[in-house]
C-alpha cells in the first residue's frame, strides 16, 4: 500500500488544486463590467457599437489619490472610479474582444447589472444574440434588460446625479419603477427570453430621456426578439394588471364627495390608492360562433387619506365613502386595462398572451384560430370586469 506519510503532501497539493490558482486575481487587477449597451452604427447595417461601464478598483484608488477632477484630465474619461470602453465591430462578441484587447486588465462580467439595447439595434432583431444572451455562463442571467429610446450608450456615458456609476443609478431606477408598476415585471434577461420563447412576444422596460434625466417608464414590445413598438406608462400598468404579475401598484383616483350637514359637496381632489393584492383571470367563450375573451380582475387596496377632505369628527369613515373609492379604483383599473388591450390591437403583437392561453386552455379553439391569429388578434371582442375593495386606513381632521 501507499505509505501513510504521503497523504500529507497529497492533501496539500489537492488544496492548491481546489482553490484554482489559475483563477486567483488580485483586487487591483480586477475590472468589473457593471453595465453594457449595444447600439447600431448609423449607415452600417452589420456593425455593433458596444459601450461598457467598467469599475476598476486600481483606477478608482489612483484617481482618489490624485484628488478631485483627476479623472476628467484623462482624455475624456468620466470622473470618479468608472471607465467607459467603446468598440465597434461586426458582432457584439467581436466588439467585446476588442474592448478586452484595449484594456490592460481582463474584463469580468459576473457582476454586470444591466444590458441596454439601443432603439435602432433592437429594431433590427438580433435573435441569435438576444436569445442566447443568457447562455453564456460568465454573464449573469439575472441582469436587468432595458431598451433605450435613442442610443443605449448615451445612458451609460451620462454622469449620474449622485454616485460614481451610471449602471448602479439606472439599476435603482428599475427597482423604483417596478415598485410603482410602471415597467413590465419581465425586467430580467432570463424572464424576457422565457416570455419570448413561450409567447413569441415579450416586454422589456423602456428607458428614455426626460428633461435631461434618464427615466424608466413604459415598455418595449418585442416580437421574435425584434422591437415592434412601445407602450407608455399607463399601457404598461394596464398590461401588468391584466397579467396578474406583481402585486403592488399605486393608482390615483378622485376623492369621494364630502357630506356635511345634509349637503354633499363634490370633491375636486385626487387621492392615491395602493393595491395590495390583485388577481386576474382570463376566460374564453364562444357567442354566436365567435370567440369572446373576458377578463375578471379583482383587487384589494388601501387608501391613505391625506389628500381627501374629510367629514368632521365624530363621524367616522363611512361605508359609502369606501364604496365610492372602490368604484373609482375599479374604473381606473378598467381604463388602464382597456388602454393596454387597445395598444395590443394596434401593434398586432400578443403581449397579453391570449394565444398562449388559448393554446393551453382551449386547444380546439386554438387549432381553428392558429393560422389566422395575427388577424384575429386585432378584432377579438374583449370584456373587462373589475372588482375592487378599498379600505381606508387613516383619518386626518
Amino acid at each position: 500500500m501507499i505509505p501513510r506519510w504521503t497523504w500529507f503532501p497529497a492533501a496539500l497539493t489537492l488544496g492548491l488544486l481546489a482553490g484554482g490558482c489559475w483563477d486567483y486575481r488580485d483586487i487591483n487587477d480586477r475590472s468589473l463590467v457593471l453595465g453594457m449597451a449595444v447600439d447600431a452604427v448609423p449607415g452600417q447595417d452589420l456593425a455593433h457599437a458596444v459601450t461598457a461601464e467598467v469599475a476598476s478598483p486600481a483606477v478608482t484608488s489612483a484617481r482618489a489619490a490624485a484628488g478631485p477632477g483627476a479623472g476628467a484630465a484623462q482624455g475624456g474619461t468620466p470622473p470618479g472610479g468608472r471607465t467607459l470602453l467603446r468598440a465597434t465591430a461586426a458582432t457584439s462578441a467581436h466588439a467585446l474582444a476588442m474592448q478586452r484587447a484595449s484594456w490592460a486588465r481582463p474584463l469580468e462580467f459576473g457582476h454586470q447589472l444591466l444590458l441596454i439595447l439601443g432603439e435602432e439595434y433592437a429594431r433590427r432583431g438580433e435573435k441569435d444574440e438576444l436569445g442566447c444572451a443568457g447562455c453564456h455562463p460568465a454573464m449573469s442571467t439575472s441582469l436587468h434588460f432595458l431598451v433605450a429610446r435613442g442610443r443605449g450608450g448615451d445612458f451609460l456615458s451620462a454622469v449620474p446625479p449622485e454616485g460614481q456609476f451610471a449602471s448602479l443609478y439606472l439599476s435603482t431606477l428599475v427597482w423604483n419603477a417596478l415598485a410603482r408598476g410602471s415597467v413590465p415585471p419581465t425586467h430580467r434577461l432570463s424572464q424576457f427570453v422565457a416570455a419570448t420563447e413561450e409567447n413569441g412576444v415579450a416586454l422589456a422596460p423602456r428607458l428614455e430621456w426626460q428633461g435631461g434625466q434618464p427615466r424608466m417608464a413604459g415598455a418595449a414590445v418585442f416580437q421574435d426578439y425584434r422591437l415592434v413598438g412601445w407602450l407608455d406608462e399607463e399601457e404598461t400598468l394596464g398590461a401588468s394588471l391584466l397579467s396578474g404579475a406583481g402585486r403592488h401598484t399605486t393608482l390615483v383616483v378622485p376623492c369621494p364627495p364630502l357630506a356635511v350637514g345634509g349637503s354633499v359637496t363634490p370633491a375636486r381632489l385626487d387621492t392615491t390608492v395602493r393595491i395590495t393584492y390583485r388577481s386576474s383571470k382570463l376566460l374564453a367563450e364562444t357567442r354566436d360562433g365567435r370567440l369572446v375573451l373576458r377578463y375578471r380582475v379583482s383587487a384589494r387596496a388601501r387608501a391613505w387619506d391625506a389628500g381627501c377632505p374629510r367629514a368632521p369628527a365624530p363621524r367616522g369613515v363611512s361605508v359609502e365613502e369606501e364604496r365610492v373609492l372602490s368604484q373609482e379604483a375599479a374604473r381606473a383599473i378598467r381604463r388602464l386595462a382597456l388602454l393596454a388591450i387597445r395598444r395590443q390591437r394596434e401593434l398586432g403583437a400578443d403581449f397579453l398572451g391570449w394565444g398562449t392561453y388559448l393554446r393551453r386552455g382551449h386547444p380546439g379553439l386554438w387549432r381553428d384560430l392558429q393560422g389566422r391569429w395575427d388577424k384575429e388578434l386585432r378584432h377579438i371582442p374583449v370584456e373587462v370586469e373589475v372588482r375592487v375593495r378599498v379600505e381606508r386606513q387613516s383619518r386626518f381632521h
Binding site: 484554482g20 443568457g134 447562455c135 460568465a138 442571467t141 432570463s190 413561450e198
Partner: protein
Amino acid sequence: MNWFNDRLPTTALVLLLPLALVEPPVLVVAAAGRGGVFSFAPGFALATLGAVAAALLVRRHPGLTAVEISRALLGRGAGTAVAAGYALFWFLEAAWLLRHEASKVIDLLLPRTPVWAPVLYLLAVAAYLVARGVEPLGRWAFVVVPFALTVVLAFYVAGITQAEPARLADLPPGGPGEVAREAWRVAGALEGVALPLVLAGYLVRPGRLVAATLGGMALAFLGLGGAVVMVFSLWGVRAAQLYHWPAVVAVQNVPRPGLAFEKLELIYLGVVVMLGFGRFALLYLAAVLTIRGLLPASPPLGRVVLGLAPALLVASLLPPHFDALERMRAWLYPPAWVFVYALPALGLGLSHLRGPAGAGPAGQGAGTAWGDGRR
C-alpha cells in the same frame, strides 16, 4: 443504527439513493425535453419501478453480491459476461460524471483553471473515500445529504414562488409518443436507481430493503422534482433548454430581498458540487466493487481503486469540449436501459422461476465477497 465495519444499515439507502439521483438536474431537464413535467413524472415512476425491481432481486438473494447473483441466475460464463458489462457501464457513467462535474466547476466558478485540475481533485478525494469501503461513504451521506437537501429545497421553493405554474401545463407538440420517448430518456438519466444491486453485499438487514428503497426514492423525488418544477415553471420547456446549467441559472434569478450580498447562488453551487461529488463517488464505488467481484482472488479494495483511477482520469479527459460531453450522454442512455431496467427485471423473473439462490441466511449479510474487512 446498525453500523459495522464494511456494513451498511439498510436505512442508509434512504440517503444514498438521493445522493445518487439528485445531482445534476441538468440531465433530467435535458432528457425531459419539450414534455417538461409530463415526461419527468412517468420517467421517475419508471425509475422507481427499476429501483424496486433491483431491491426485490437483491432481497431474493440475501448475502450475495451483484456478480454472484448474476452467476447464480445465468451460470458462470454468461453471469460473468453480464457482470463485466455492469463494470464497464459503471465505469463509463463515473468517467462521464467526473468530467461533467469538473466542467461545472470550470464554467461557474473557476473559468481560467484547466479542466484536469478539478478532475484530478475530485478523483483523488473520491478515491480516498472509496478505498475505505462503503461504510465511510454511508456515514458521509448521513452527514451531508440532509443538509444539502434542505438547502437545495429552500432555493427551489423560493424559485417556485416566482414562477408561473401555467408553464407546467404545456403539452409537447409531439403528443403521447414524444412524452413516452422523453420519459424513457429521463429513466435513462437516473442510472443511480440500480444502486441496491451494488450495495447488496453490504446491507446488514436486506429484509427492509424495499421499504428503504421507496423511502430513498421519495427523498430523491423531493430534490429532483423540486429542481424540475422550478426550472420548467420559471422558463417553460423551450427556454429551459437554452441553459447549460438550468438549475444554477434559475437560482441566480431567485430574488433575495433585504440581503446585502448578491451572490447567493454560490451557496447553492457549493452544495450541488458536494452532491455531484457524492454521486461520482457512488458510481466509482459501483465500478470498483463490480470489478473486484469479477477478479478471482478478490484483491484489497484500495488496489482496485488505485488501478481504476488512471483509467477514469484518461476517460474523463477524452471529450475535447463540453458539447462533445453532452453528445456522449445520449450514448449512455441505451446501456442504462439495459443494465438498470431490463436486466434486473429479467433477473427478478428468472429468480422467481428458479427459486431463491442465496448462499447465506437472510438478514445476516453473511457470505459476501467483500464483506471480510479487507482493503
